[in-house]
Symmetry: C2
Subunit: 588 residues, 2 copies
């Protein structure tokens, strides 16, 4: 191999433009493609910024041309040359107006034929892509993803720093807590028989940092959960973790609404505007989801009153038994075929509804199998209520409210998907607020915390905690939703010992148990804990959505499979018996 | 407890100045100190920015004054008030010209008497400080340290990003490698009997990222080593990790010399100038150390030639047997007592020297027990050589060169310490370059890599590798030294398969063994690996030295003890038998 020590790169390939015509340049990169045209050899030279064409002309330098004949795809080379205007510009690439006439070539490294093509999508399986991740990452699309992720991280830190948040590192080797998801454990060699755990999140540390008076904290933190993986989960993932002292929910929405808006503006140039907020109750009633996709309408309407006296028995009996009739209008969906409508019916039935009532909107009213059961004035009121237009299609479900919400929520997503109503370059953000403090656990047959037991109730609901309807209390908890995905969430925490005791009591956690589980945090709270709260954003998913991608593995440099393996380096792997002996553990 | 939801903080305590006189403010913070003077109650209110005085006057508001009587140290409060000029300014604090006359007080949380005082150094043991870390971190000095660390991290990322380095996250759950220090292991539940390891550094990943064409990478990375800890080591530590493609050592020195200079300039306002460099060989010969403290002189001089014909037998026999006589001049050390000189002699003897020859410099020459053995012209030449002045003291050691270097190197540090020659606010940086490629392992009785087996040799020493003196080859490896501490180090890596095979052969590593140990990296190198190299800076130590501190635990938010424990949360800890069963492991 040759060396390039005496050659200083002058430019990146992708930066060359016609304005550089006549310049002498030194470029270094990979042979993306070689074409021999007549006597000329053309090389597309590639680096992280893009490609440019370099030319070897045997009439100018026969020896150099001979050397260029050795070049194969993915060879690493350095070229010295002059930029000239191309006779015929190539409008498909940004450097297409120029080419580099080479005067010196160094072959810095050769390459075997790579198992995946770098300059095209060869349709390789994800398994091959992950095994040869170092080559997969060489692909321009993947380079763009990873560089964009870096840009989001830089922008995040700069924005939060400017807002007075202090980046503080918290430990990766921490105490195992029996709450929440499963911990990854790390056996201690020095303290045999004992274990560290990897953090599921820096939750306790960030609350302690508020007790320490840091006032505003953030960290782009690695978190770990040993769960059985779904397609969009990773055993280690990255979150933008934030906590602040003396906040109110409104301060949180304003502060981090602005943060997210600035982040979008500065990285992808998108103005998301002021982020609206909606209570959990409203989100469930209007969208049938606590993470509604608000890129498209199809809001649910409760139309029970319209059908209070209907002759349509199915509706009437539901209304009389305390259920609800809920409707959505699907715009420009009058063309859905009977077959599709049957499939949509399956969606609502899978959510627990008994059936789906539908009607195409026309100039006269509604057209469909159930329309004949409804009085003309009912139809007219319904169409008006839903603001439906001819060519739309109206769907209705009659059921218990929870079931109706769930069924129409699922229906709305299904219709949006089939009709491609959700655009990937549209970004619709929403704060969902006032989550319930408790949720009923069917497994444990009791009320458990919807977030975690330190979540503060709404101030106006504190008195509820002392009543038999304590489980109706709402929390000062919030999620930030983007295009139907929860990209962030958090809460104001309880900082008063009295209120905390009350919540523990309601959750059936004894003082002794609280001490054992959360002792060092409760202990810290004795010495002057400020009111505090915060949130965390899932970086992987946020970046994925910003890029309009479908897999978080495409925005993580070295991801693991759904069986938590790294195919590139065959990890996890067996280890020496000696290593285990030192740790004082044995395999079962 | 009261709430502060309706009160928006207008300012931080420490930011208040006379220019704010007359302003209405809302402050939130901790009661640092309460003083009752006559009828008035004075509170020093503290937040992360500092303190300011707030006053309760019973003649203005008797009820409020009564409430203020309840306040104790570390209570969390919100106050509403007006800024007035103090009658008598307190010049010792930055807010000393003003005070806040309170019109509303909210007690947001009470506090028990903390086990360590926040507003003074109570001389608590480190054990107590670590147990109550959340309170220790509330101390202004610790807050300053952690906030400075955050500033260094922000500046680092901004500088490196501007220089075109891309921040890329590498996995924490990786493959265990049998090389180097001991890995922390993480048992896999999904893949029973297999283990992940926590990274000792992102070394292999950053080299793969170069193969992937990212060109310039950085990361502020958590690293883990399960070693028996010394006072200044932590099981998890943070490094600024960097790699670039197509570098030369000079590019590395220029690029990261500028980075470090900018970092110092922007964070502590210190101009470190252009960082000089010195070969490993010179550093050993002049300072007796590969990490010389260059804040003070006392360079070593080889003066063997002066004593080639001396009558002083000790010197003569050393010179004749091929050893060296080396000398340093200790400026203004003529006042060292005989007792101190005896202690200094112990230092050189501990390094393997037989003894220490010394003489005080006076107008006539040298004064000391050995001076009488030396001819006047020898003394005169010695004094001139060393540029010694009356009042200085000259020290000499005669021994094998390696021993003499080590002995005088240790002596020089000891003298500097005793005479306080090294100032903590002086920052002296040095690149130490051209480290040996190999070092002899007494344990294994063979030559092993001084850094790691991927370190490239100097281009001019490559031919040496094919000779019997291969072990004399120098590496393209470098350290950055600050005030006698290695704060960074790295190398240019081998990227050619042929050269790599040769180095493996010299190290006695068979092809099969290389494949087993480094297979996936060697495999990646087949597909077009660019020349590359990099380095890593130890963030903890860098921040510690920049702050003039002596313990890295004072710049790490939640450090572990030398037995790798966290005293605050009692970690590592025992875990449930069920957790171990799920992981398929048992305790021995």
């Amino acid at each position: 191999m040759e060396t390039d020590s005496d050659l200083k790169r002058t430019q990146y390939c992708g930066d060359l433009r016609l304005e550089h015509e006549g310049k002498d340049v030194v470029l270094k990169g990979w042979v993306d493609r070689r074409r021999d045209l007549g006597k000329l050899i053309f090389i597309d030279l590639r680096d992280r910024t893009g490609k440019c064409q370099v030319v070897f002309n045997p009439e100018k330098d026969a020896e150099l041309h001979k050397k260029a004949e050795k070049l194969r795809g993915e060879f690493v080379i350095a070229v010295v040359g002059k930029i000239v205007k191309r006779v015929q510009a190539n409008a498909t690439i940004s450097t297409g107006e120029i080419e580099v006439v080479v005067s010196d070539l160094r072959i810095l490294n050769e390459a075997e034929t790579p198992p995946i093509a770098i300059n095209e999508d060869g349709g390789e399986s994800e398994e091959i892509r992950l095994k040869y991740r170092f080559l997969d990452l060489r692909r321009p699309a993947m380079q763009k993803n990873i560089m964009f992720r870096a840009a989001v991280m830089q922008e995040t830190r700069q924005l939060l720093s400017k807002m007075g948040f202090i980046e503080i590192e918290t430990p990766i080797l921490m105490k195992s807590t029996p709450e929440g998801a499963r911990d990854f454990l790390v056996p201690s060699r020095v303290n045999k028989g004992k274990f560290y755990a990897l953090p599921q999140s820096p939750q306790t540390y960030k609350q302690l940092l508020m007790v320490s008076g840091f006032d505003k904290y953030f960290q782009i933190a690695k978190c770990f959960r040993d769960e059985d993986l779904r397609a969009d989960r990773q055993p280690e993932f990255t979150q933008i973790d934030i906590e602040m002292s003396f906040p109110t929910p409104q301060v949180i929405y304003d502060t981090f609404g602005k943060f997210v808006a600035d982040l979008f503006k500065h990285t992808i140039g998108v103005d998301v505007g002021k982020i609206p907020s909606m209570s959990y109750y409203d989100a469930m009633n209007i969208y049938g989801s606590d993470k509604p996709d608000t890129r498209f309408g199809m809001e649910m309407h409760t139309v029970s009153l319209l059908f209070a006296k209907t002759e349509f028995k199915v509706f009437r009996s539901v209304v009389e038994s305390g259920g609800a009739i809920k409707a959505i209008n699907a715009p420009a969906c009058g063309d859905l075929t009977r077959k599709v409508v049957d499939q949509l019916t399956e969606v609502v039935v899978a959510s627990g509804a008994k059936g789906l009532v539908w009607g195409k909107v026309n100039d006269q009213g509604l057209e469909g199998p159930s329309a004949k059961f409804f009085a003309p004035e009912t139809i007219s009121a319904l169409v008006q209520n839903l603001n439906a237009k001819p060519g739309d299609m109206v769907f209705m479900v009659a059921a218990d409210t929870t079931v109706a919400n769930k069924a129409l929520g699922a229906l709305r997503l299904e219709i949006a998907k089939r009709k491609e109503m959700a655009k990937k370059d549209q970004f619709s953000l929403l704060w969902v607020t006032e989550f319930p403090l408790f949720e009923y656990s069917e497994t444990d047959k009791r009320w458990s915390p919807m977030h975690h037991p330190f979540t503060a109730p709404l101030e106006e609901d504190i008195s509820l905690l002392y009543s038999p309807e304590y489980y109706l209390a709402r929390a000062r908890a919030y999620d930030l939703v983007l295009n139907g995905n929860e990209i962030g969430g958090g809460s104001i925490r309880i900082h008063s010992a009295g209120l905390q005791s009350k919540v523990f009591e309601l959750l059936g956690i004894s003082e002794a148990e609280a001490q054992r589980k959360f002792g060092f945090l409760l202990n810290a709270f004795k010495y002057g804990a400020p009111p505090h709260g915060g949130l965390a954003f899932g970086l992987d998913r946020l970046v994925m959505i910003m890029l309009g991608l479908d897999s978080i593995r495409d925005v993580i440099p070295f991801p693991k499979t759904t069986t938590a393996q790294s195919l590139m380096d065959d990890c996890p792997s067996t280890v020496d018996a000696g290593q285990l002996k030192e740790l004082g553990i044995r395999l079962e």
